[in-house]
Amino acid sequence: MTGDEKAKEEFEPKIIGFLCNWCSYTGADLAGVSRLQYPSNIRIIKVMCSGRVNPQFVLKAFQEGADGVLVSGCHPGDCHYIEGNYHARRKLAMLSDILEFTGIEPERFQMSWVSASEGQKFAKIVTAFTEQVKELGPQKKLAGGEDE
């Protein structure tokens, strides 16, 4: 194993997950109830609705040193608040575009729809996302590197 590979192996990304109370948080609960295993890197912040997630939170998380940010809400049409997830979708799509445009890997940011019954999906998403972020290595662009 090269040093680089080793560093990648040992790198434990910091991931923040904003989950809506009604679907995704409950879906994450279901993953727990079903004892599905996924990497422990994610720190979940509960919000009532994915529509509550201001793109500013995502940027702030990156700026504070998060390596990845996951936002998850109810599937389109299933929003507990009727339409919050549609609003979130717009805002966060635009955010994704500007991240890409500024060369900040948009792969560090992911939005997903996870219903209360999709514990399996939640576990899969978190696993894949953690892997994806791990692959990208530490996020120093918005966080600022040590060598500044």
């Binding site: 923040i16 994450a28 993953a31 727990g32 422990s40 912040i45 609705c49 529509g51 009727i82 019954s117």
Partner: protein
């Protein structure tokens, strides 16, 4: 009443009173006790003595505390009436809590049921008695006297902490009925970890009387001197919600090897295997050797749809639960081979067909066969012999485990209970309804009502709807009574300006958390945080003793914020919030750190990382907690008026139920008369009932009611406001009118889709839909046909409209019967995909039509739909491939009836806009929760019933109508409503009035007044969308404001405080 007394005596004879160690008078017992050096406290005995023969006054007695009984109890208690809820076993929850997940949403069953259980146990208007049976019921509607026999569990429920030390000490091991015999438990036990009340109980049948439990019980909760009680209760009405038994295929259907081969289990046993708190903690393992099966099969209709080998009716839920179990098994292990042997897949409910389609896509193998026999191979695997009805081959399939989808059957105690309560039992053993189609809730005795599966098989939402309906009916008898005084919560301490003093309680959840991470370490880490006043780890934070501890610590340490690190706020948040309130703290000063579902259970292989994450989660909780502020909840008065949109049968029935509860009700109907689709129907499946007669009877009652006002030819133009304070703008014969109301019921119904262009419809007078046929039957103007073909699922279950129309099979069979009776010489052939007759008496009706009237039925496949050919002479031919005989058939049809797909009414979209309620596929409204809130919308104060939600047969629509009336009556009977505390708040100095928040708000809760956003707290649902949309942060969501979320972000990335 003679019979009843006999039964009473007989019961006492049957039930062994040896359970009472105290067969002698207390005084003597005292003396004896002293002699025997058994510690007995005098006052305890005295209490026991007094307890016997005590009297309780209530309003409604509810027998059975499964999901139906709980719903009925909550619906009644929420209206302000006192409920006495009795449950035979030691916990409430019934069969639902045994299930792993529920179809078609795959919601965790216990997770959705547990909050209801907790709510029931904490409701001030509900007196809950477990281990209790009803013995007699005397008197009449409005004035009943019942006797309750409450068995002693030898454990004082007020003292037991649920710690489980007794069970550890108990030497007796018995089969655990909760796990359907798949595991063992102790002689002293609780049913399951989340049982309510969480009180251990001794089953006297198993107890050897060694006293070990008593000796180890630190709390001193166990006493063998506790006496069973005979309690007299005075009530005005009774709801019977005693549930069902499951068919045990030991005698009948023994050819499937249950009880003989260990790897043949019932579906309920399989549920227990799937359940995370079941015998295998959610792992699918064979009972014979504990290995994971590589293949599993399900046999459907075990005990149902057979007069000879079980019950003639359809058990209604088995197709879906088997599909669910198979799909979940497949989800857990994709390599698993799963096969379901079925007769018809009755995926009749909302989203069921799609769920079934998805299971097929996942690789669940459906084989249409009723296996004849089952053998065990040497390796313990099971050989199933069956004939595939599609290929007509006789085959053997070897599977590692066989699951029998056993039928819901009437409780064996129904006849006895029926006699004690004076209510009738039908030929199958279910309780008899007033009418199976038009009055399912009413028993044969006035003032006694039915809810749930004791009336016939039902799935959860239908049971819940019926339970709400039963609550409405039960309240009618006592509506004049004075309501219980609402309990005032203790005075709240004002802590708003105080320095945060946080208490942290890290729950072990037994081994569920502490088994995978170090709870003590987590508690230690945060103890020195400047804002943390107290930090500890506890065994079960939710147990009653921990609750007491938390309350005590709040008091002693002067805590003003509390964090519990445990399971999930979804299930347990409310519980701890209540605990805070009881301690005089605002409930919004509570914060949850989810270290079980989101940590210990999902990172169970890395103790170190799980512990680290738990620390972070708690720290994030602290970061937010520091910033929590007490939130006040506004109260509003409720306008005591309900509006019903739609005057079909559901709307009419709901109006009548509300009227009976003395609530002013307005029906808004677009058409010129009430009755809706019923006016167009000739008759009602599965009865001979004349719909017009039913409509007329109800019309008469509505006309006679002082409480109902009908607005015909009236459309609803707009609605504004919120629960308790709506305002409708209507257009009708009186011009534009306004109406203020408190709650609304949407009963906008459904109709057939436009069939134009499908199956030759619209081009030939011989082709018509079922609805048109009904009209022709009423008019009696059909030309005598020689051959009749009906095509079921026309326009249904395809890509465009993937749902099942739910009612078509029944309608086609009924109309086939009518036509056959009218034209006995005519050939009738019903082309079908599955025959989905699931309701009460429906299967029997169907079997009768097939057996006795010689109506042909031909199964076709979804990939080869029937072709309709219209010849030049106008004659109609139908080409179809019979899936069973694999024959290509050409049927001439003098009459071709299309059983058309259905969809929600045209007004759906408009209502969606006006009431801000969600609509799903097919223009059907989406309920707040598919299982436990089947009549509510997410928007408070708006309910629905009938086919606006999904096509319904009459019985279900009526039960729903009464249920919706019950739901709609709750806010009105409460008179005042406490609103959501998590609302948005505007800082006026920061707001520049750009209005984007108002634009975004899904609930219209924000107005611009004088250039500033102003939140209407009554409309605000607290989603926080406005907060995310406001650029300056002038509008903030209380409890989730920018500062709080930002603090959580920061603390999650910084291991410092």
């Amino acid at each position: 009443m003679q019979d009843q007394n006999e039964y009473f005596e007989q019961y006492y004879e049957e039930v062994d009173l040896h359970d009472d160690y105290l067969m002698i008078p207390p005084e003597l017992a005292l003396l004896e006790a002293e002699e025997n050096e058994v510690e007995v406290k005098k006052d305890e005995l005295a209490k026991n003595k007094l307890a016997a023969g005590r009297r309780i006054n209530g309003d409604v007695l509810i027998v059975g505390a499964g999901i139906s009984g709980m719903q009925a109890a909550l619906d009644t208690a929420d209206k302000g009436y006192r409920v006495i809820l009795i449950e035979k076993s030691s916990t409430i929850g019934g069969n639902m809590v045994k299930l792993d997940k529920t179809f078609p949403t795959n919601d965790c069953s216990i997770c959705t049921a547990a909050p209801k259980m907790v709510e029931v146990s904490r409701h001030p208007n509900i007196t809950l008695m477990t281990y209790a049976d009803v013995m007699s019921l005397e008197g009449e509607k409005g004035d009943f006297t019942a006797h309750i026999y409450r068995k002693s569990a030898y454990v004082d429920p007020d003292v037991c902490t649920g710690c489980g030390d007794c069970a550890t000490a108990c030497p007796v091991e018995v089969v655990n009925p909760f796990d359907d015999k798949l595991s063992m438990r102790k002689g002293i036990s609780i049913e399951f970890p989340q049982a309510v009340p969480i009180v251990y109980s001794i089953n006297y049948e198993n107890c050897v009387g060694c006293g070990s439990c008593e000796r180890v019980c630190d709390a001193g909760a166990i006493s063998f001197l506790r006496k069973s009680e005979d309690i007299e209760v005075k009530i005005g009405s009774v709801i019977v919600a005693t549930g069902y038994d499951l068919f045990e295929p030991l005698e009948m259907r023994k050819e499937y090897g249950y009880g003989k081969y260990p790897n043949v289990i019932t579906a309920m046993q399989f549920e227990r295997l799937l359940s995370s708190f079941g015998p295998t903690e959610g792992k699918i393992l064979r009972p014979s050797d504990g290995t994971a099966p590589k293949s599993i099969g399900w046999i459907q209709c075990v005990g149902s749809r057979s007069k000879q080998l079980g019950f003639p009716y359809c058990s209604r839920v088995c197709c879906m639960y088997a599909t669910k179990e198979a799909a979940i098994a497949k989800e857990i292990d994709d390599s698993l081979e799963v096969t379901i042997f079925y007769m018809d897949i009755r995926a009749y409910g909302k989203d069921f067909q799609q769920y079934y389609d998805k299971a097929k896509d996942m690789g669940v193998n459906y084989v249409r066969a009723r296996p004849s026999s089952v053998y065990q191979n040497e390796d313990g695997s099971i050989a199933v012999r069956y004939m595939d009805t599609h290929t007509r081959e006789i085959l053997d399939m070897n599977i590692d485990m066989l699951v029998l989808s056993t039928a819901i059957m009437p409780s064996k105690e129904n006849p006895k209970l029926g006699k004690m309560l004076g209510i009738g039992v039908d030929h199958n053993g279910f309780f008899e309804s007033g009418s199976i189609v038009s009055d399912p809730i009413q028993t044969t005795r006035d003032g006694v009502f039915l809810a749930g599966c004791n009336q016939g098989p039902k799935d959860i939402p239908d049971s819940v709807a019926m339970a709400s309906g039963a609550a409405a009916r039960a309240v009618q008898a006592i509506v004049e009574r004075e309501k219980a005084e609402p309990v005032k919560p203790p005075e709240q301490k004002d802590v708003s300006g105080d320095k945060p003093k946080i208490g942290v309680f890290v729950c072990h959840c037994g081994k569920n958390i502490n088994g995978y991470l170090d709870c003590a370490d987590v508690a230690d880490t945060v103890r020195d945080d400047p804002n943390v006043e107290y930090s500890t780890d506890v065994m079960f934070a939710c147990s009653e003793d921990s609750q007491t501890d938390i309350r005590k610590t709040i008091e002693e340490k002067g805590l003003n914020r509390v964090i519990v690190a445990a399971c999930s706020p979804i299930t347990h948040g409310g519980l701890f919030q209540d605990t805070l309130e009881e301690s005089g703290l605002n409930k919004y000063l509570f914060e949850f750190a989810n270290i079980r579902q989101h940590c210990s259970w999902v990172h169970s292989h890395d103790r170190e990382k799980a512990t680290q994450k738990a620390k972070d989660l708690v720290r994030m909780g602290i970061a937010k907690s520091v910033l929590l502020q007490p939130l006040s909840q506004e109260e509003v008065d409720v306008i005591p008026v309900t509006v019903i949109i739609g005057g079909g049968i559901a709307g009419m029935k709901a109006a009548m139920a509300l009227s009976d509860m003395e609530i002013e009700t307005h029906i808004i109907e677009m058409g010129d008369k009430l009755g809706g689709n019923l006016n167009k129907l000739h008759s009602l499946f599965p009865t001979e009932l004349d719909p017009s007669q039913l409509v007329n009877e109800m019309q008469t009652k509505i006309d006679a009611s002082d409480y109902i006002k009908v607005h015909l030819n009236t459309t609803l133009e707009n609605v504004e406001g919120f629960i308790g304070n709506f305002k409708a703008y209507m257009k009708g014969p009186d011009g534009d009118t306004e109406l203020k109301f408190g709650t609304a019921i949407i009963a906008s119904g459904f109709g057939e889709i436009d069939m134009a262009g499908k199956y030759g419809y619209g081009n030939n007078p011989k082709i018509m839909t079922q609805m048109e046929l009904e009209s022709r039957l009423i008019a009696n103007d059909l030309e005598k046909p020689k051959s009749i073909v009906m095509i079921n699922c026309a326009g249904a279950m395809d890509e465009e409209r993937p749902w099942c129309c739910r009612i078509g099979c029944g309608v086609s069979i009924k109309n086939a019967k009518l036509l056959k009776e009218k034209y006995p010489d005519a050939d009738i052939n019903i082309l079908y995909r599955d025959i989905r007759v699931f309701g009460k008496e429906e299967e029997e009706y169907f079997a009768d039509v097939i057996e006795n009237l010689h109506v042909k039925i031909t199964r076709y496949s979804d990939v080869e739909k029937p072709q309709v050919i219209i010849n030049d002479d106008g004659s109609v031919m139908v080409k179809v491939r019979d899936q069973i005989y694999n024959d290509e058939m050409e049927l001439s049809a003098d009459l071709l009836v299309l059983t058309a797909q259905t969809e929600g009414s045209e007004s759906t979209d408009k209502l969606q806009q006006m009431f801000k309620i969600p609509v799903g596929p097919g223009h059907f409204f989406i309920e707040a929760h598919a299982k436990i809130r089947p009549l509510d919308f997410a928007t408070d104060g708006v309910y629905f019933c009938g086919s606006a939600h999904f096509p319904k047969n009459l019985a279900d629509a009526i039960a729903q109508a009464e249920g919706a009336a019950s739901r709609a009556a709750i806010p009105i009977m409460k008179q005042r409503l406490v609103l959501e505390g998590i609302t948005a708040i505007v800082e006026p100095d920061m707001c520049v009035g750009c209005g984007i928040c108002a634009e975004a708000c899904p609930f219209g809760a924000i107005d611009l007044i004088k250039g500033k956003a102003v939140v209407n707290e009554a409309l605000c649902k607290g989603c926080g969308l406005c907060n995310a949309t406001c650029r300056s942060g002038a509008i903030q969501q209380k409890g989730f404001n920018d500062h709080q979320i930002l603090s959580m972000i920061k603390s999650s990335l910084n291991e410092v405080v």
